[in-house]
């Protein structure tokens, strides 16, 4: 963005503005664009979700306002804006007021490191991935504030649940990402995407593989297990069914949002959908290559980049459009999967949620980190790192060996843990039965 602004102001108009002003203008434009896009596409995500879930339930969904219900979200928006804003007298006015902002702000922050296409990232941060998850954990504070300030028991219980859930599912999410970070050796999201060129096998693992932009992590056993664990954790993080315990409307009204109305409620809603979008986006970036896809890499190689200043700007546009298309397709695909899961599963109980997170996902991700270490060792290390026996193998053989070993390890771990988990569940049921039996005999 900055080079474009620089081009326009300093080269076309010849005003010779200082670089800090160029930087400021560039960042402001990007920020304004993102702040426009985020709520707008959130509106249409709600429509998307409603239509999709309706079809899964053999209904049609909202299709009255505009063609195919296109303007339904706008109508909803108008409604929510015109609603009265009610603050309970018993509420802590200021905290009640600030809480929605604290919830929304981090989700907007997270857009800062999200790459939309090749070379289209607001800030190419070295620690993008870490930033993303660090910032996402801030919204827990906002939820806590909302729950506490409402001075409502449902709200407080909802906030407690939300925070407990977010804190416990951050661990498997981060642990599963740790495996990927081990493999790529970088925390930069852009680097993560660049790693995923290739065809089934990443070009970074085996250099001779043609770069079709399909060397996604999902195709390796490490990445696959990490994907499953991460997506489940993302569902919990985004408070999606079956992990929508914090706002379980049949139990605690609307959780921490109970005492909010009007646009403050709308802000929570916005934060939730934007967070869901971001989680889908990050899933598609980490495991499905983000904008990587057939053709994008080649187009971008012809474009004007710092590496290749002699490119054609047409290729910039083409690569950008194709890259954004791939990225959004994958992202909305994952949002569809979220809706699909919502259509399929019932809500978990809080103890089932904790059981699943702590007893199944975390051990599984721990094993996965081990697999990732093996993968890195078998594909990258040599005699210098103390792994002399792989030295003579060709890259493809090394990749195959890594694939086989990690596949066996992950599959074995999955089956073993699933059995242990099932046994513990059975055991628990048996013990519950025993408790009842004892109570029966006492009476």
């Amino acid at each position: 963005m900055q080079d474009v602004v620089n081009q326009v102001i300093n080269t076309s108009f010849g005003w010779g503005w200082p670089s800090w002003a160029i930087a400021l203008i560039g960042y402001l434009i990007v920020a304004a664009l993102l702040f426009g896009i985020a709520p707008f596409q959130m509106l249409f995500l709600t429509l998307y979700e409603r239509r999709a879930i309706a079809r899964m339930q053999d209904r049609i969904g909202p299709n009255r306002v505009g063609p195919e219900g296109m303007f339904q979200p706008l109508a909803d928006g108008v409604k929510i804006f015109t609603k009265e804003d009610i603050v309970p007298t018993a509420a802590d006015q200021w905290v009640h007021f600030i809480a929605p902002c604290v919830v929304v702000a981090p989700t907007m922050f997270m857009f800062a490191v999200l790459p939309w296409g090749p070379g289209m990232v607001p800030v190419d941060m070295n620690l993008g991935l870490l930033f993303f998850f660090a910032i996402s954990s801030v919204s827990a504070v906002g939820l806590m504030m909302a729950g506490w300030a409402s001075s409502n028991k449902f709200a407080l219980v909802g906030a407690m649940r939300a925070v407990a859930q977010m804190v416990s599912y951050e661990i498997p999410a981060v642990l599963s990402l740790l495996a990927i970070v081990l493999v790529t050796g970088s925390l930069s999201i852009v680097e993560l995407i660049n790693y995923q060129g290739g065809l089934f096998i990443s070009t970074r693992d085996v250099a001779s593989v043609p770069d079709w932009g399909l060397g996604w992590f999902i195709f390796s056993p490490v990445g696959f297990l990490a994907f499953i664990a991460f997506f489940i954790a993302a569902l919990a993080e985004g408070e999606r069914t079956p992990f929508d315990i914090p706002e379980a409307d049949s139990e605690i009204v609307a959780g921490y949002m109970t005492e909010y109305s009007g646009m403050k409620f709308g802000l929570f809603y916005l934060a939730q959908y934007v967070l869901n979008f971001l989680l889908c986006a990050i899933t598609s970036i980490i495991f499905f290559g983000g904008w990587q896809g057939p053709g994008v890499g080649w187009l971008y190689a012809q474009a004007i980049t710092p590496v290749n200043p002699q490119g054609g700007w047409v290729f910039n546009v083409l690569a950008g459009v194709l890259g954004v298309f791939y990225f959004l397709t994958k992202t909305y695909g994952f949002f569809f999967v979220m809706v699909w899961i919502r259509g399929a599963y019932a809500r978990l109980r809080i103890d089932q949620l904790m059981d699943f997170g702590w007893k199944f996902l975390i051990p599984l991700t721990l094993v996965n980190i081990f697999s990732a270490a093996i993968w890195v060792g078998l594909t990258k290390w040599g005699a210098a790192d103390g792994l002399a026996f792989v030295e003579g193998w060709s890259p493809l053989v090394r990749w195959a060996a890594a694939f086989g070993v990690t596949l066996a390890l992950n599959l074995g771990a999955y089956l073993f843990l699933a059995r242990i988990f099932a046994q513990s569940q059975d055991e628990r049921a048996r013990q519950d039965d025993d408790v009842l039996e004892q109570l029966t005999n006492v009476a």
């Binding site: 200082p18 670089s19 800090w20 930087a23 802590d92 905290v95 941060m125 070295n126 620690l127 870490l130 930033f131 998850f133 660090a134 910032i135 954990s137 801030v138 827990a140 504070v141 806590m144 504030m145 506490w148 407080l156 407690m160 925070v163 804190v167 951050e170 661990i171 925390l187 904790m354 059981d355 702590w358 007893k359 975390i362 051990p363 721990l366 513990s424 628990r428 013990q431 519950d432 025993d434 408790v435 009842l436 039996e437 109570l439 029966t440 005999n441 009476a443």
Partner: protein
């Protein structure tokens, strides 16, 4: 780790001014929030001010280009520690407290000021003021990668500390999982509705059996 460098990416004076203004604002926020933490009467509010202070400190790290530290500050302090504090406060006691001041509060103030001075004074005395700022165009800024430097430090110089901390954390994690696997019957818990229903059915069945046996005895 050259964290303290006020790097000037574009070699332009207003950038320095901007960063100094931001620094001033952040410092004011940190100090103000910290003051609020100790003066505000509502404990929850105090915790929230503390979070604000943590966040401002993270921003301060960012101005120092210590991205990793800043992000870890957010992740650990804002995302985890503060939540822990909030949980602890909410689960333990009522949030409004009396302001408790001893008669000898001035003694406490004096002692803490003295200790602070004891730390600060040598620094102030030994400091050389007015270091001339580097002039002229800045050469290509050295690549700063906080993570890599920290990582190298961990596996070279501080490998023992790192290993010990790593083992401790893993043990804590596994311990948490083991505790989660603890037998349920040891815990007291409330029966769910369905369990109560089953219990009632069983009790009825038992009662009927007993009465049937009694009838047979007659």
């Amino acid at each position: 780790m050259a964290l303290i460098l006020l790097r000037r990416p574009y070699g332009w004076e207003p950038m320095d001014l901007l960063i100094q203004i931001i620094f001033g604002l952040l410092a004011a926020l940190i100090i103000g929030a910290a003051m609020m933490v100790v003066t505000v009467r509502n404990v929850i509010h105090a915790a929230l001010w503390l979070i604000a202070s943590f966040f401002a400190v993270a921003a301060l790290y960012l101005t120092l280009e210590a991205e990793f530290i800043a992000i870890v500050q957010v992740l650990v302090y804002v995302g985890a520690i503060s939540i822990l504090i909030l949980f602890a406060i909410m689960l333990t006691r009522s949030s409004e407290g009396e302001r408790l001041l001893t008669k000898h509060w001035w003694a406490a103030a004096l002692i803490s000021l003295g200790l602070f001075g004891a730390v600060l004074l040598p620094t102030l005395i030994g400091h050389t003021w007015n270091i001339p700022l580097p002039t002229g165009p800045v050469d290509a800024p050295e690549t700063l990668s906080g993570v890599e430097d920290i990582g190298r430090g961990f596996v070279n110089e501080f490998v023992i500390h790192f290993e010990v901390a790593g083992i401790l954390l893993t043990v804590a994690l596994i311990g948490a999982i083991v505790i989660a696997f603890e037998e349920r019957s040891r815990r007291r818990r409330v029966l769910t509705l369905s369990e109560e229903h089953i219990l009632r059915q069983r009790q009825q069945a038992t009662a009927e059996r007993v009465s049937a046996v009694a009838d047979a005895a007659d």
